[in-house]
Symmetry: C2
Subunit: 258 residues, 2 copies
């Protein structure tokens, strides 16, 4: 049985303010919750219909409260259009941004990405291509927004997303001679430029791209050339599409060996 | 002044049934409408606030009815959460699927892609990489769904999207020895396999991938390998992400020359 108070708590986590106050976020669906159970993220409450409950037999649930509920109760609590039959309240993890970020690893850095679907898709992309840490400007969409959480399809349990001001972060990387790449409409052809296996790749906002204060901090400007057919031309790529092509190119060398 | 009847007509185009009955679709926003004005798609009605109206000075508007409306009227008509100050009713174009599809060009073929955002993003991707025709199974999301139209960011005015049963279409391509590629979890490494510059690339449904009846029609199974870090693993990529990486690889050879 799910109390009204509990439903109110869950629904308050749809908004950033509610999440900030409680330090909690919501994840829904069997696949996502079981990925979280396999991670270091702590699940404090699991509510599930009887049908889904047998799916969660994890040792990690030891410390969680588990409530069996009806389909109707799930429908009252869910933050999704289509309820998934199970919902978890999870504690927002505190990650330290690794000191060596960009030094012996590849880091994606997002500036003011607004669309939750784009952010979720980029987290999933990072997960596939072994990028363990992402650095986002404070105005980027919140990773614990339920739309982002769901779009990651579980990748949120493996990729650590940090929020920090980009100028000081990138200034520090410049001082350490870590390469900082940025995507630009005019830049080196990404298909022919030699890319390092480590470094920082900055992707800009959907409408405005990378902001001018970041320009001097980029050591390499890269571009995805357009395939010219002579007919009227496309103007831009979706940012998650661009991210996919850029990350694929950075990992290409290593993946050619496998 | 916008009549109630007109508002009802516009709002009926949110659904496939309404679009099928009238043969019309809705596009909103300056960029999208001006891309459509530059194309062969016919705009029959343009409604706009006085502020946006000077933006549309196209010869193509000659045959269109133009109505100046208030912000409030646009708000009543819009199919979007955030109205854009201008909205066009456009005639759904009738394209013939080119006889030579896949023979001297690259064609993307989508099977049952459900998410309008994914479809719109893939159309935009095709536009960037010079893919002029896409072939979709009848159960794929409708390209004239307003969410798809908006997500294409104007690419819908340049890429022709055809709906047809895939099995007969691909059977014909097989007979003509046109290569038919399909993305699979297990297949040739896309980074090391030689890819033709022409052919058909099939992408499957978000949850289920390519259906079994299409398997025998694929001449090549390709895969985007995962970057293995030894830690728990991602299970899949978003379909638009996968499309981006695959198309990028097919165009890579040509784009290395530019």
């Amino acid at each position: 049985m799910l109390s009204k108070n509990r439903i109110r708590t869950i629904r308050s986590l749809e908004n950033k303010k509610g999440r900030a106050e409680s330090g909690m976020f919501v994840a829904e669906g069997k696949k996502l919750i079981s990925d979280l159970l396999d991670s270091k993220i702590r699940i404090e409450l699991l509510i599930s219909t009887p049908r889904n409950l047998p799916f969660f037999q994890s040792e990690s649930l030891r410390h969680a409260e588990v409530i069996e509920v009806s389909e109707d109760e799930i429908r009252m609590a869910t933050l999704l259009k289509t309820p998934q039959g199970c919902l978890a309240l999870c504690r927002i993890p505190q990650y330290d941004l690794p000191e060596n970020a960009g030094q012996d690893n590849l880091i994606l850095c997002l500036q003011d990405i607004q669309d939750p679907g784009n952010l979720g898709t980029i987290i999933r992309l990072s997960d596939w291509f072994g990028i363990g840490d992402m650095v986002c400007s404070p105005s980027t969409a919140d990773v614990y927004n339920p739309k982002v959480v769901q779009a990651t399809m579980g990748a949120i349990s493996r990729v650590r997303v940090h929020y920090t001001e980009l100028v000081p972060f990138l200034t520090l990387k410049n001082k350490r001679n870590i390469p900082v790449y940025g995507t630009f409409p005019e830049g080196e052809n990404i298909y022919t430029s030699p890319l390092t296996t480590e470094g920082i790749v900055v992707l800009g906002n959907e409408g405005n791209g990378i902001s001018e204060d970041v320009y001097p901090l980029l050591s390499r400007r890269i571009t995805i050339p357009r395939f010219d057919t002579g007919t009227p031309k496309a103007e831009s790529l979706n940012v998650a599409t661009a991210a996919a092509i850029v990350v694929s190119e950075f990992r290409r060398g290593a993946l050619c060996q496998c």
